[in-house]
Each structure stands twice: as structure tokens, then as C-alpha cells.
Amino acid sequence: MARFQSPLRWLVTLAALLLVLALALRPSLERSISEPEAPAQPSTPELTEAPSSIDEEPLPKLRSLAEVDLDQAPARRQLDLQHWTTVQGARVYFMRADELPMLDVRLTFAAGASRDEHLPGLATLTNAMLNEGTGERDAGSIAAGFEQLGAEFENSAHRDMAIAGLRSLTAEDKLTPALELFTAVVARPSFPEEALERLRDQMLAGLRFRLQRPSALASEAFWTDLYPAHPYGTLPQGQAESLVQIDREQLREFHQRYYSAGNAVIALVGAIDREQAERIARRIAEALPQGRAASPIADPFPIEPGHRHIDFDSQQTHILLGQHGISRNDPDYAALYVGNQILGGSGFGSRLMEQIRETRGLSYSVSSSLVPMQAKGPFMISMQTRADQVELALEVIHDSLDQFIEIGPSEAELQRTKRQIMGEFALSTASNAAIVGQLGMLGFYDLPLNHLQLFLERVQALSVEDVRAAFARHFDPENRLVVTVGPTHNEAHTETQTETAEQEPDA
């Protein structure tokens, strides 16, 4: 989320440095490889725990446990969600929240990098160019326009979706001009040549910056190998060869085609009434290019398993292991979500965290993630460890996965996770920002308004065998892909292809 500024500005920024100063030093798992595409169901589960070896762990000796009914689903906020479609075909999701004098607007388009076709980087560049100029204003004037109103503009592009968002105060003299400017930026960007050159240079610099980050290299190799000849296989940030080919006309065409009303989800949360919401949504939909929803992305073909090693001068080796997962609409979503939580998706206490970090001290962070996308997204496990411990780490990961597919979770783990998901749900709807994100997700994947409730019900109905069988069905051990990035040492990687990371063409 890059408020107030071009998201590209931060591609190569030194902001990362500040982590050294202000460490949130505990788990803070790196998210560089995870896709924001499909927000994990009830927001992000943080550090969580679900013991594997300590299955039937007795409750701790805390007096307050006697006062809290753990089997009672925690209270949650009542959500009055509303949905309609404008005549232009934009799908609108709205929740009124009067408590704070502010409004969040989030437009989600099927306009991510999976629409790049032969020009990787086109979707990202189009999205980043939105606030670089309209007919009447240049980038500075747009930014000053938002900033003097105290409004925040946000834009980002991912593989499935592209997002443009606004946060504004609801005072009339702030909201009206902020919405007007926002609408112009999203609907009538002028893609000035000067800005194109500048952002292109920034993206090229961003590509160079990636080369010094082993996690970025691992992620790129993983997606490339998992999705050969598929729209998910290219890097959303583009490649030098394609970036230099992109011109204004291509940006315009991409915008005309994919930033259309019929391809848009408009989510609104804040201190406005239904009538205002309808008016705002209608104005935006009228201003956007008119057109239909983009056709869905097709599922990838199965791939050959393999292990790619990329040589990199570092102390640690970054490991990514995974395979094709599911689409967001897969009937096994709830079962796999729960299984992933238990295996490695819920931080501390998940099996992988117990096995890799807590029992063996092999890694600072290890996690598994299920990334359901419009087409089959990846299921992956990531960690980093001192280079000489890679073989051991891989063995533990493979064993944990094999065991999970063979035996499944324990009944205790399943019960804990069911309770956990109920609790997370209450937290995931606590802020307007969280709700507008949920609404965007519902709309983008065309899920019913009561989806969150349905999901909870499905989770509660799952059996151990349901989870095991879903894992076995989707995650054939024969299909695992492994990527390692780190120093090459002698005995390892005998049968793997090795390459070096230093040959990115110069800008």
C-alpha cells in the first residue's frame, strides 16, 4: 500500500533499511512471495499455533480459562453488506459504517499481470500510470489535489487483479472533490510520455534491485517453472525487453479494455448512506470505459517436477517448494484452507514451524501458503536457512507433507483450527480497511454476499478425512517443484540444474 505516491517509487526505495532500526523482531514472516490476490480468508492469520507433536496438550494453568467459554463462538460485528450492479455492469459492494467520518473506496479490476500477453509489465505499468496525468492535470497536480484534501490514493497491480483505492474524509467539501479527482484518475488517465519514460526507468531499476534479493529470485523462478506458457508464469514487474517496447498506445488500449465498468468491482465502506453509495458508484461506472468483464484465466497444464538451484553469494539459502493449488471457487477450498493452516499457514504452532524452527532452530521463518487465484494458484512452502542445512530442511518439509497427505491432521488439530478460524473471523471485520478488502475479494471472485458465513459453516462441518483426502487429491507428491537460491556447495544438488543469477540485461 503506497499511499500518496506511486507504488513504483518504493520498488527500489531504501525503506527496507529501516527494518534494521525498528525491528518487529519476532515472527514477522516475509511476504515477498505471497500474492495479495486472494486475501487469505478471514484476513491474515498471524502467528498461530496448532501443535503436532503436542496434540492433546492440556490447557494451561490459567485461572481466566475457567471464566471464558472456549467453545462459544466469539462475538462478532454485525455486517450489513449490500450488493447491486450498475447499468454499466459494475458490481457494487457496500457497507455503511457511520462511526468514523471517512469513506474507503476500492476498485478492483481483472486487469492484473495475467492480462499482459506478450508484454510482461504492461498491467503493472498501466496501473502505476493512472495517477501520472489526466487530461487536465499532471502527476504533481493530481498528488497535490489529493494531499491538500487529506485524501489518500492507492494503486497496485498483482497477477489476477489491479486495484485503485481512495480514502477520504466524508465532509462534503472534502469528499466531493476527492471523488471527482479519483474518478478522473481511474477513468481518464492520459498516460503522458514523460511519465512513461520515468516509470519505465523506475521499473528497470526495480528489476535490478530484485537481483540482490534472493527471496525475489526464488519467487520468480518458482512462478516461471510452475506456470510455463501460462499467464501466471511471467513476472508482474516485467522484463527489460518487454518494458522498453511498451508505448502509450498500448497503455491506452489496456486501460480501455480492462479498466471498464463491466470488468470492475466497486467496494464502498464508510459514513455514507445507500443513496449516496448508489450515486457514487454510478458516477464512477459512467466515467469508466464501457465494456464487459474479461474472460477468466484458464487453468495451467500439469508440469514436470524438478529442482532448480540458483547460485547466489549469501550465507543463507532460500527454499521454495510447491505445486499447483486451486482456484478461488474450488469446492475443496475450505478443506485445503484448514489443512494449510494446520500444516504451516498459521505460524507458530503449525507443524512446519514446530518442526523447522521450534524443534530444530533451522529457520527464522517457515510457512506454507495456499494462494487460491482465479485459475489454479500455487500451494507453496518457503523458508531460509544457513546454506549447510538445506538438505535437512528439505527432508523435514517433504516428510511433513507426506505424512499429512497419508494420515491427515489429528482430531485435536482440526478442532483447534476450527475454533481458530471462528476467532479470526471476528478480527477480520474489525476495521473499515479490512472490510473493504473483504468486499473487493467477494466481488472479484464472484462469491455470494453470505460467503463468509458459508465458509465458516463449511469449515465447521469438516472431518479429518475430508482434510486429508483434499490434500491427497490436490497435492500429489510426484508434482513437487523445488527452488533453492544460495551458495552452491559440494555434495548437494548433484542432479539439479544450476544457474547463476547475475545475467539480467542492463537497462
Binding site: F4, L25, Q316, S431, A433
Partner: protein, 453 residues
Amino acid sequence: MIMLRQSIALTLVLVFSLGAWAQDSQPRQPTHEFTLDNGLKVIVREDHRAPVVVSQLWYRVGSSHEPPGLTGISHALEHMMFKGTDNLAPGQASRLLSSLGAQENAFTSRDYTGYYQILSRDQLAIALEMEAERMHRLSLPEDEFEREMEVIKEERRLRVDDNPNGLAFERFLRQAYMASPYGQPVIGWMHDIERLTVDDLRAWYQTHYQPGNAILVIVGDVRLAEIRALVQQHFGPIPAGPVPPQKLPLELPGGAERQLTLNLNVQLPSLLMGFNVPSLNTTEQPWEIYALRLLRGVLDGGYSARLASRLERGEAIATSASASYDGFSRGDSLFLLSGIPNQSRGVDLEQLEQRLWQEIEALKLEPPSTEELNRVKAQTIAGLVYGQDSISQQASQIGQLESVGLSWRLVDEDIAALEAVSPEQISAVARRYLVRERLTRAHVLPNNPEEVR
């Protein structure tokens, strides 16, 4: 959705964009303050939008309290706080909280160490009891300690040793703070991490984890009366202990111009410039801190601010350029400028630095326009409203201020304090502080320079 955790980590250094509540909306969220007999300070803010609550316990100890040889000990202790107490097995409390769907985490900085839980209001008692338990009954088992130190070494490799920009910044800070302990890395030097002992941690825990050295902040769907009883029940029985005196980290007012050249595994050269400046805690004239914040805002308070509009867009001399300043640290602070020159235009680090100096000199001579200042203020005011959307962010702002010895009420006064700064005062702080004898400059260059061209 993914941002809560990050916001805690990141807000404290940079723009402490004091967003919390505008004057007109303050009654929505009544805030209460009380102190237990053992010295624990408690601040409660009511926010009844959703039936959830965040509890944050802040200890006034961080890397700037660490003597040489013991760097990283605050952070190591933070890790060990999850490894059991008299009544809790290692990791047990975390497993219980997570099974409830609660979020919990911890963070260590230069000035403080914090622990938090976000959970259903009905479950708050569990979090408080657990937190009280580890305030005075931590086990610190030797075998857990040995394993956890391996994890911390992996963490250091990940964040610093294998991250060349992280490494560069660590070296830069060591030079920029000649006298102040802020030059020490929060995670600690590797050679110190390797020689920490569990006895060191025990002593650190005994000294600093006293109720009188902590602040408990609770924000969410709660009422004062119930919280007072709950806090008294769980934290009240903890005996009071001696509270270590706080010595503010002080820096030399004008040590010398310092220069580092670092050849590292970076792909892009970058420039870091840090000026030694005071914080609200160390200045004799509080207006200076607000003026320095506005100065930062004029330079980098958004995409329409000077660095973005002139250096990144206009002349396209920088691929990125930014300014940051934390005026709310415990001790003397840094005003930081950083940037990456635009290589596609053949700009080098010297040219970028010259251009940054031009901006500084221009501000010394001519105060910023009213329009520029209004823009910065408008963002601050709106930020006060937006900040109320997140209970965690509200709690963090309160906790950060209190743990560095400032009052959470400063947030209420923020707008007025910024309003009171005149444009000429902004030029005045630039003239006083953005001078060469306060400057540390680092040039971070790729290992293999010919590859860059």
C-alpha cells in the same frame, strides 16, 4: 488486512504520522489512565465499533539500554518470553491464543520492547493473565535458549548479513551516532549474539521487566470499570521492584562530518545522509521538533512534495529520494535523506548529493509557502481520523509515546503544535541542523562497479 503488524514496526521510525483523533471526534473514544500500586501504568481507550480488543504491554527497555558486549539482549529476551513460565510450558500460551484465533506478536526497538494480543473482547482476561504471568515468572530454560539463539542468528542473516542495504544501514548508523547507543543494532552484533548467556538474560529480565517500568495499553470494545478490575486481578499481585533510571541517549551536537564508502552486493548505488538532530525528549525548544517534522513534510510529505516532484519527476535525477525524521524517540535523533540516482540518465551519487544540498540551501534561504504547509497539515489532520480505523494503530501511538517518556496526550496537541510553527522557523531549523558538522554520509556501491554502467 496484512498491514497491522507492519504498521507497528514501521511507524516508529519514520513519519510518526500522529494520526489518531481529530478534536471533534475525540468524545467517541474516551481514554482513561490509571496506575497500579506496583507502578504499572495502564491506559485504556474505548472503541466500540467491533467486539474486539488489543492489549499491548510495553517495557521501557530496548537496544539503546544495552552496554557493549550485550547488544541484542533485549531482542533475545523478547524471543525467550515465549518460552514458558512457572505455569506455562514453552509456547503453550501462544498455542492457546492462536487456537482462539487471536493474533499475537512482539517487537523490539531501540527504546522499547512490546508484546501484543488482538482478540475477542470476551477473551481479554486470558491475554492479561498470560502477560502478567510472564512479567514475573519467566522460566528461561537453558535448552530452549540454546535453540532460540540459532533462530536469532538465522534472523540476523536474513535481515542484515544477506541484505546488503540492511548491512549498509547498520554500518551507517554506527558512524552517525558517535556517542549515542542508537548506533548499536537492535538485533545485536553477531559476535555478541554468539556470546550471550542465559544468565545474562536472567539479569536483564530482573532489572527491566518490573511493573513500574511497563505500560499496558488496551484499546477496543471495553469499559473502564471492567478493565480496572481485570488488570488489578492479574497484575496487582506482582510485587513492585526497583525501576532502572532512564538515561536519554545523547549525541554530540556537532561531532564532525563523516563519510563512509561501502562496496557491497547491491545492484544499485545509493546515498544516505543523516544529520544529528534532537528529539522532543532532548530539545530545549519543542517548536524545533515540530518544525523539523514540517521540514520533512515539505521535502517528502507525499508525491507532490519537493523531492518527488523535483528530483524524481521534474529533473528525473533520482530514481527515488526520500526524507525521514522521528522526533519522538527517547534520545537524540537523525534527520535522514536517502536516494538512488537515476542511472538511466547517468547521474552519480555526487550529483544526487549536490542536488539534495540545493534543496536544503533553498529552504534555509526561503521559507516554504503557506500552500505547502497547508498540504502537510491537511494530511496530518485527516490522518488523525484515519488512524482511528485501526485499534492496533491507536494503541501503538499511545504506547510509543508513553514508553519513550512522553504523554499520549501529545497526540491531541499535535495539530495545534504544528499550526504554531511559522514558515520562517522551518528555515531556522534547516539552518541550525542541516549543516556539515552534523552530517554522516554513506555511499553504497556495487561490488563490481563496471557492471553497473
